[in-house]
Amino acid sequence: MQNITRADVEDFLFAEAELLDEWRLPEWLELFTDDAIYYVPSTDVPADSSPDKNLFYVADDRFRLSERVKRLMKRTAHAEFPHSRTRHLVSNVRIRSRSDSEVEVAAAFITYRTKDGVTDIYFGSNRYRLVAENGRLRIKEKRCLLDSEGLRTQGRVSIIL
């Protein structure tokens, strides 16, 4: 992964944001490796906490993440039916470390979600561990660290951040 540049990572993350904003969630899921994890820790635990010992908001392994996607594409996922309109903004992208097999990336995010005349703002930092599979970047870990104090006023993480 020594030749991956920040621009490569940015292109990848911008494409990810677009898939989420267009609700192309099955395609978005394909960005993840088979052993991927997606975490949204609660906001009063340290950033590197484990969901095995702490209560999180979201702690998905690849299976549960795929179930989350299936759920969100159903009419019976009431929280997101009809779908919210969202805009995922990605900024301050930085490669924090790299090895032969992966890069660690931090990216600030602001995500707007609008539904029924109410707009909520989610903000924080996404920490990624990216690997290369068949010459393409894949997400092995996405850890979404909210900067807000809890989910007030957002109320829920019914979209993918």
Binding site: V40, P41, S42, T43, D44, V45, S49, P51, D52, K53, N54, L55, F56, Y57, V58, A59, F63, R64, E67, R68, K70, R71, K74, T76, A77, H78, A79, E80, D116, V118, E149, G150, L151, R152, T153, Q154, G155, R156, V157, S158
Partner: protein
Amino acid sequence: MNAFQRMNTALMVDEAKQIFKVSRQAFVDPDILEAERTRIFDKCWLYLGHASELPKPGDFVTRQVAGRNILFARDAKGILRAMFNTCPHRGAQVCREKHGNAKSFQCFYHGWVFGLDGALRSQPGEASYAPDFKERSTSNMQQVPRFETYRDFCFVCFDRNAETLDSYLGPVKEYLDIIGDQAEASMTIVGGTQEYSMRANWKLLTENSIDGYHALTTHATYFDYLKATNGGLVPVPLEGAARDLGKGHAVLEYKAPWGRPVAQWIPMWGDEGKREIDRLYQGLVTRFGEERAKRIALFNRNLFVFPNLVVNDIMAVTIRTYYPYAPDFMTVSAWALAPKEETDWARKYRLFNFLEFLGPGGFATPDDVEALEQCQRGFRNSTEAQWNDISKGMGKETPAYDDELQMRAFWSNWNKHVFAPSA
């Protein structure tokens, strides 16, 4: 007195005709919220926190309870304290951190220093104060008028003359015992607080938390998920009873097809899980006998303690409390409770269970939030479309878990408080 209070009730009840209706004004009227503040939240016992959150002397958390800022601390002698988090000097919040460990608390405004018990220790310019200044109780941080604990559940009450917590809880204690007895040593809060909000009236969450009727429709995707998990369910039908525990308290007690870390095994947990669950169950039998062990292990409980505490002993144990900020806005705090001594395996699956279903990132709670917010939107029509119906199961000898007895228990008591003649 406003027009609504002159009506003297929010309920339309006719037992013979099995009518129980609640006026939707109760969810939207600011005068009602004001009456709730003075007649419910200023009078009832309210959940503050769990003793396990403060294991060591000097541990503290700051918390909002019914609009007050409370400093919940364990003092140097190990005694739990609930104090108003305000400097007796000029009013600033003394402790500004959410949680931590301290040797003393210092108000940054003028530098007054208080012990962990709230007693004034020192203040700059001491020589300028009266000689007995430090001996005056008014120089200390003020303790909450009433602070009592049952099985590590810590409650405060702002009414000095309220009945004891023991008497207030009454039959609720039996259910807190069932939860407490799941631990051999003691129960503990597991790190991480879920803090969220809903653009809905707080009483909608009371109803929702003890509503066994909505699960299959509102939470259809959760059941889809369990079915997809290849052995995430056991062939146990959803069935059970609802009980009115008096004073607005209520409980649902029922069987359900999901795994309970204490102690209903599901195939998804595999052999390791089977051994662990068997061991836990045997422990319960040894300590309490077969009958009580079964009740603890195989039955779920949604326990509601009036006015705003929910302890769900379901696929995990949750503690949830919530407060109104406006008729159409509430804040919610939720914690996970678990046996302190449980294995890493059990802890992990308990938290997984919690997350899958519960909380604002789970596969169920976001849909509850949506439902409650949609109710609140529906109440915009309350001038014309005036009534909610909660008559399901009226007249039955033993109302089922998916009847609405528990809501009627809540509302009857709520109505008594809010429309009580002024003292």
